[in-house]
């Protein structure tokens, strides 16, 4: 497939936004149970605003992917069948709740709604945060399922796709949270940094697993099934459009095999290895966390590029980029 920059940014920005929120809310949950010192509302509030910024960035990027952005509102219609539709619903829903969550923190309008038998006060923000968490995961699933549900794209058609979207988004979100807290709540940095390391490690494992899996995939469709001729030697002589067509533009990354091969270690280094090192060092020198996040985000962009480029669409059998 040809990686579209709108989609690369869309998925990575959303992932970071979702991850950041999850980090904040994890913190709030810890704090609720007294495992961590509660932070000022502004910490969660501004953190949510930052997450919203990323999500909005993703939203904007998504419009670049649409031929007819003015009709984008229509895309919620098919939630019964379409993961894209579901994503379109999940995203604003998540953003809305997240907004309320952040606003509630910032405005101080955070009444206690329930008091649990143990005397634990459940505030509005906590309820909102819980809903937002569910939505964040729903959004991760929707986004990932957009790809994972396409059974012809066998590189994507795997639970690993969903797991990795969650892990990769969360990793970058937690890293960002570490950066954020490094600035506004230095005492909490190691909490976020620690989790970021754990999730990045998991993401590394998940992504490596999918790389291994994909490397062993055997194409299910072949030239023989594509045109229905039983012969081991079939060569396409012409694809019917010498100047190219939508099918040659959309489904081919047009980069060399060497480029593709080089990008893999690059993103593994940038998204996982280097950030892990920097996150670890960041425990002592918080300034490195910023670098960790930036490199990891770039790594994830590369990862996403590779994610698309690696997927071989069966339609390509009909368009072997010859004459």
């Amino acid at each position: 497939m040809k990686p579209a920059f709108s989609v690369i940014f869309l998925t990575t920005l959303l992932g970071t936004g979702q991850g950041l929120f999850l980090a904040l809310f994890t913190h709030q949950s810890y704090a609720l149970f007294g495992l961590l010192p509660p932070q000022a509302d502004s910490f969660y509030g501004y953190g949510s605003a930052l997450a919203l910024l990323f999500l909005a960035g993703g939203l904007v990027a998504s419009f670049f992917h649409l031929g007819r952005p003015e009709r984008a509102w229509r895309s919620a219609a098919q939630w019964r069948t379409s993961w894209l539709s579901r994503e379109v619903i999940a995203l604003p829903a998540f953003m809305g709740i997240l907004f309320m969550y952040g606003a509630s923190h910032l405005s101080g309008l955070d009444p206690v709604l329930v008091t649990l038998p143990g005397g634990l006060n459940i505030n509005a923000t906590f309820i909102l945060g819980g809903i937002a968490t569910a939505l964040a995961f729903a959004l991760f699933v929707c986004t990932a399922m957009i790809y994972a549900c396409l059974r012809f794209l066998r590189e994507w058609h795997s639970p690993l796709t969903v797991i990795n979207y969650i892990l990769l988004g969360s990793a970058s979100g937690f890293t960002l949270a570490a950066v954020f807290s490094g600035i506004v709540a230095p005492s909490q940095t190691n909490f976020f940094g620690g989790w970021a390391i754990i999730i990045t490690l998991l993401a590394f494992a998940g992504r490596s697993a999918s790389l291994l899996r994909n490397a062993r995939l055997k194409p299910k469709s072949t030239m023989q099934t594509a045109i229905g001729i039983k012969h081991p030697h079939i060569v396409q002589m012409s694809q019917g459009a010498m100047g190219g067509s939508f099918n040659t533009r959309e489904f081919f990354h047009a980069k060399s095999a060497t480029f593709l091969r080089a990008i893999k270690p690059t993103f593994l280094l940038l998204a996982f290895v280097i950030p892990l090192v920097l996150l670890a060092l960041g425990m002592f020198t918080p300034a490195l966390l910023g670098v960790a996040f930036i490199l990891q985000y770039i790594g994830l962009l590369a990862e996403r590029w590779f994610f698309f480029a690696e997927a071989k669409h069966p339609q390509n059998l009909y368009y072997q980029w010859r004459s």
């Binding site: 031929g67 100047g243 067509s245």
Partner: protein, 243 residues
């Protein structure tokens, strides 16, 4: 239930591309139109077509076959392009199984093309909506056309009548019969999309000659006394047997 479809007979398709341009021609000024072309007179011209004819070579010289292979939307019975569409712009008509795009709903997200294993949809880069073969839905029911014209444009055009059109759910239809009798097959059956369009394979006619057919009594060489007869002086059994 009706499922309209094309059945393409590779046995007679000569790869003339009539179906390609007649389709473009009908549809560019039709309900799907215009079908835009980018750089029409410049380098690497490219445009939206609903139907393409491709060529493949099978085997090695001299036992090679050249295969012309027309391909448009196969109007899958279980079309993976439809459920993924977020807007409902992609839909399959219940009454005849035609898979269509609603150009007024389509947001141009291209997701449906990812879901089609056949590369049968083309995004119109100027109109910014997804387009594909409509089975000429705006011809086949048009009562203002004469009966013989109520066919897809490509079918009408095809000089070798390699393109059959009809209801593959009606066992009596010409298309069902062709699929049944001439070995009709579907593309990429492994995905369970159940394409409505089918292809008919090459069929070969051979002539079997027996040697004795070469030497017949009515050989005209006899009339002219030219059939090789052994000379009288040549050896024969008469010379060596004594009974």
């Amino acid at each position: 239930m009706t499922q309209l479809a094309l059945v393409i007979d590779l046995n007679v398709c000569v790869g003339c591309h009539a179906c390609v341009t007649s389709c473009k021609e009908w549809n560019t000024s039709g309900s799907a139109g215009p079908l835009c072309d980018e750089r029409p007179y410049q380098a690497d011209p490219t445009g939206t077509f609903f139907n393409r004819v491709q060529t493949f070579e099978v085997g090695h010289y001299p036992h090679s076959e050249t295969l012309h292979f027309p391909k448009s939307c196969l109007h899958c019975e279980d079309p993976p392009c439809v459920p993924v569409c977020p807007t409902g712009a992609s839909y399959k008509r219940e009454e005849d199984g035609i898979v269509l795009v609603d150009y007024d709903k389509c947001i141009g997200c291209k997701y449906c093309t990812w879901a089609c294993p056949y590369g049968a949809r083309e995004f119109d880069e100027k109109q910014k909506v997804m387009k594909k073969c409509t089975l000429c839905v705006d011809r086949i029911y048009d009562q203002s056309l004469a009966e013989i014209d109520r066919k897809p444009s490509c079918v009408k055009a095809c000089p070798t009548s390699a393109r059959l059109f009809g209801d593959i759910h009606d066992p009596e239809s010409a298309v069902s019969q062709a699929i049944r009798e001439d070995g009709g097959y579907a593309l990429m059956p492994e995905w369970g999309t159940h394409p409505a369009n089918h292809y008919l394979p090459r069929r070969k006619t051979k002539l079997n000659i027996h040697n004795d057919e070469l030497e017949r009594a009515d050989n005209p060489l006899k009339v002219d006394g030219q059939l090789p007869k052994p000379g009288k002086g040549e050896p024969s059994m008469d010379d060596v047997s004594a009974w």
